[in-house]
């Protein structure tokens, strides 16, 4: 009983606590490109997912997001946008851009779990593959370009960020495959008519 309430409290307050930490550590996390893009941004998405107990979507909202299509499209745009070096740098010196960064990634994190639940594995595969491919290509560009893409970050930092983006793309792809491995196994034909007979 006691453990349960403990766990419930953790689930409820984990999101706000992480958000507070992310707000408090903005300066050190944004001081290097690597920490900015590969620590702060992913943690913001995770934080959005943890904040779900505090966000109540109106009933029927899922109607606007069948198969998670709207959420996945938004996710593809948001990941692309925050991998543009200039966009990342704008978040450094423009409070509006930084606000949009927090808002877009928190929202993305809050919507993704529901979208993943609704989406068929093929839909998931389409978007995951797209996002991972884009991330890997962006990472390779970061590594290959001889000039700095952000005026505020050092070239070595950019190299490291590029390698890490390629690594993250691979890790995301592999993680998705492991989670969804059961879909790839040959399944015996099942009489479907009884379940979907409508």
């Amino acid at each position: 009983m006691k453990i349960d309430t403990h766990r419930a409290r953790l689930r409820r307050w984990g999101g706000p606590a992480l958000l507070a930490v992310l707000l408090a550590t903005r300066a050190p996390l944004e001081a290097t490109m690597w920490r900015h893009m590969l620590v702060q941004l992913p943690l913001l998405v995770a934080c959005g997912a943890l904040l779900r107990p505090w966000l109540r979507l109106p009933p029927g909202a899922a109607r606007w997001d069948a198969q998670g299509l709207a959420t996945f499209t938004a996710t593809a745009f948001a990941t692309t946008y925050w991998m543009i070096p200039r966009a990342l740098e704008q978040a450094l010196d423009e409070p509006f851009a930084n606000g949009m960064k927090f808002a877009s990634l928190l929202l993305m994190g809050a919507l993704l779990p529901g979208a993943l639940r609704r989406a068929h594995v093929v839909v998931q595969l389409f978007f995951i593959a797209n996002i991972c491919a884009m991330m890997a290509i962006a990472g390779m560009l970061y590594r290959e370009l001889p000039q700095r893409l952000c005026n505020a970050y050092l070239l070595d930092d950019q190299d490291l960020t590029g390698s890490s983006l390629v690594g993250l793309a691979l890790a995301l792809g592999v993680a998705w495959c492991i989670v969804n491995a059961r879909h790839f196994a040959d399944q015996p034909e099942q009489p479907k008519r009884q379940i979907t007979g409508r």
Binding site: D65, L69, A70, T73, F77, R86, R148, L149
Partner: protein, 217 residues
């Protein structure tokens, strides 16, 4: 799963939502890339200056000879088109390249007989670069004061405002070095920054400055 014939209740709403996301996302990308033209801050800065020149804020320059003048006065008095570069004197990396290029540009300007139209000004952003450090740098570079002058900006606030206005960002790097977005800044006699050219394109920068000089006379 979804056959096209069985349109589900949520499919139209979802189509609207996806369309809205596509529009908003495209608008964001357009904004973030200066109209799909720039992915780096530096290219965005160069596009912005080419479209809308930037007036230099007031800044007092201290020369290698110890004299002090306002940047705007200096440019107006001189009357030539000026190629401004930013450096720090103890630089071992990019500024060395830029320094060598500036030396060659100085020779080019003299050889082409363009010393009455175009000149070079190099401004240090390192507060440690006093008149002595600048004079020493000038000796290393063999500067001809008629074509190429070196300055520092002693007042920290003025120095930072000039760098900010021009979008020059200086980042401390290991071993006491700095990294900064090195470039040739074309300035007219009205103290306006009119073009920025990459530090790897000294010929283009010189050509641009000469074209401006002809245009303005």
């Amino acid at each position: 799963m979804n056959s096209p014939r069985t349109s589900r209740p949520g499919s139209r709403a979802t189509a609207f939502a996806v369309l809205a996301v596509l529009l908003a996302g495209s608008a964001a990308l357009y904004y973030g890339t200066s109209g799909f033209r720039a992915i780096s801050t530096e290219s965005a800065r160069r596009i912005a200056v080419a479209e809308r020149p930037i007036q230099a804020p007031p800044a007092r320059l201290a020369g290698a000879d110890g004299g002090a003048t306002l940047l705007a006065d200096e440019l107006a008095r001189d009357g030539r088109i000026t190629l401004v570069t930013f450096i720090y004197a103890r630089c071992q990396s990019i500024c060395r390249v830029v320094g060598t290029e500036l030396q060659q540009m100085q020779q080019q300007i003299v050889a082409r007989g363009a010393a009455d139209k175009v000149r070079l000004v190099t401004i240090s952003f390192d507060p440690r670069d006093d008149a002595r450090a600048l004079a020493q740098y000038g000796r290393q570079m063999n500067t001809d004061p008629g074509v190429w002058r070196l300055y520092g900006i002693p007042d920290a606030g003025e120095r930072q405002r000039l760098l900010d206005a021009f979008g020059v960002i200086v980042v401390p790097a290991p071993l006491g070095e700095f990294e900064h977005n090195a470039a040739f800044h074309v300035m007219d006699r009205g103290a306006r920054l009119v073009r920025i050219l990459d530090y790897t394109e000294p010929d283009a920068a010189l050509a641009e400055a000469l074209a401006r000089a002809v245009e303005e006379t």
